[in-house]
Amino acid sequence: MIANALQQIGRRTFDVLATMGFAVMTYMKVVFGFSRMSVFVPLLIRQMYVVGVQSLLIILVSGLFIGMVIALQGYQVLVSYGAEGSLGPMVALSLLRELGPVVTALLFAGRAGSALTAEIGLMKATEQIASLEMMAIDPLRRVIAPRFWAGLICMPMLATIFTLVAIYGGKLVGVDWLGLDTGTYWSLMQAAVEWKQDIGSMLIKSVVFANVVTWIAVFRGYHAVPTSAGISKATTETVVQASLMVLGLDFVLTALMFG
């Protein structure tokens, strides 16, 4: 009985370590294994359109509403201390330091990450990946690398767009609706936001999140059991694991940068 339990624990540990090792090896091949530039660049541009441009709508709408909600809630608190003039810095700093990269990564995992996993999983189930291998074409270079790099490039851009739209949403509520002075909103924000600490932290966080979310998405798809149940499980795992990793890593990065 105890021997069986130990055997099971050992086997599971070995499986987890093997999967992690395989994931790291595959990551290295994807990051450093480009195909010919004339082949890679068109594939990259197409994937940037799929994961980036097609995610724009959800990013724009979410950004606008989140900025408006932060401004509305913030105003209620700040006005009771007579500090409503600080609404601009509050909106900008909370978005730049936390909400911008984090919410973008969560939305990206749900919108683009799940789609990447399902697409790659289906390519595996319909033997497209196997046929590439049999044509002597490395699927890691042809299928995985362009999708991974597209995610890596697009997510910081999406986080920036999200943050800008949210700041504008904050202005719509704070200035246009609640009557805060326009000059106060923008000038105090300008004075409070620092390039390195605030904008830099947003970019660092979104690059780290882009790595994690896109990698989990493509790896889960590539490693999916090629059945409908397997692909469904892989897609769910992508969203759950990527979201948890983003939230966990956000705490670690915040502690490192601001702690």
Binding site: T126, S131, M134, M135, A136, I137
Partner: protein, 277 residues
């Protein structure tokens, strides 16, 4: 290690392969002669497709050798394996066409990847291949607009576009209507003759395969149970071969999944119910 055999393009020697804890092949050996059509027949689920994947180096055997023109496939590095695969191709059961590319681009795909031919030459080459499978007029269609038979023919054009030495067909006739099946049979035969390539067909469609194969292996129970020319197999009177070739529902391959005798099980069920009351 090189083991040249001028008569055979592929030689499988003492191959054992397991999938997890399930043994698929137990020390099998076979040869695929150059320029001929060799068929591998057997019931569903015995791992016929697995054999093609082993020859293509997509799976690694537990032990044994798989020689392709003198190269031991399992021993090759990834780079060497990819170089070797440019000399072989595979027609997958599903066709495995790329869903985001149209028929023309699907067939042109391997040419664009592996050669630097000008686009005008690629266009001529692809159109000739599509003409050969009767689908030149469908070059602009997307895979979702093709019937199953048409998709298989496009896949055949793609598999032969670089004139490979070895073409492996994975269940090419499965799920096809009689007309498509007839078309595929004659296409496989004509492709083999025109290109002078070596063909391996894995299938359980006995009549179609026996009509075009030069040599046949029959697999069952993790091993090869018979081999010979189609005529020799038709003469074979062993129970297993007769059951498989004539499609008899019961025989050495039982109709019933192993279970306790029906009477005994019914008695047990009745006993359990009365005890419950």
């Amino acid at each position: 290690m090189i083991n040249k055999d001028s008569d055979n393009l592929v030689v499988v020697d003492g191959l054992t392969f397991s999938h997890g804890e399930r043994l698929i092949y137990d020390n099998i050996s076979l040869s695929i002669p150059r320029g001929k059509i060799t068929a591998i027949l057997g019931p569903s689920g015995i791992g016929k497709t697995t054999l093609l994947r082993l020859i293509g180096g997509q799976l690694e055997p537990d032990c044994g050798h798989i020689w392709f023109d003198g190269h031991d496939v399992p021993q090759l590095s990834r780079k060497e394996l990819f170089e070797l695969r440019t000399r072989m191709s595979m027609l997958f059961q599903s066709g495995a066409l790329f869903t985001e590319l149209d028929v023309f681009d699907n067939v042109a795909f391997p040419v664009r990847e592996h050669t630097r031919l000008p686009e005008s030459v690629i266009q001529t080459l692809v159109m000739m291949k599509l003409e050969q499978v009767g689908l030149r007029g469908a070059h602009h269609l997307m895979p979702s607009e093709l019937s199953g038979g048409m998709a298989r023919r496009v896949a055949l054009a793609r598999a032969t576009v670089l004139d490979p030495e070895l073409i492996m067909y994975d269940e090419p006739f499965t799920g096809q209507d009689p007309i498509s099946m007839g078309v595929l049979v004659s296409l496989i035969h004509s492709v083999n003759e025109t290109l002078g390539s070596t063909s391996v067909i894995v299938s359980h469609d006995v009549h179609e395969v026996l009509s075009i194969a030069d040599y046949v292996y029959v697999m069952a129970d993790k091993r090869i149970i018979a081999q010979g020319s189609p005529e020799q197999l038709r003469q074979d009177q062993s129970e297993q071969i007769v059951q498989f070739l004539k499609g008899k529902p019961d025989g050495p391959v039982p109709f019933h999944y192993p279970a306790a005798p029906l009477e005994q099980q019914l008695r047990e069920l009745a006993g359990g119910e009365s005890a419950g009351k």
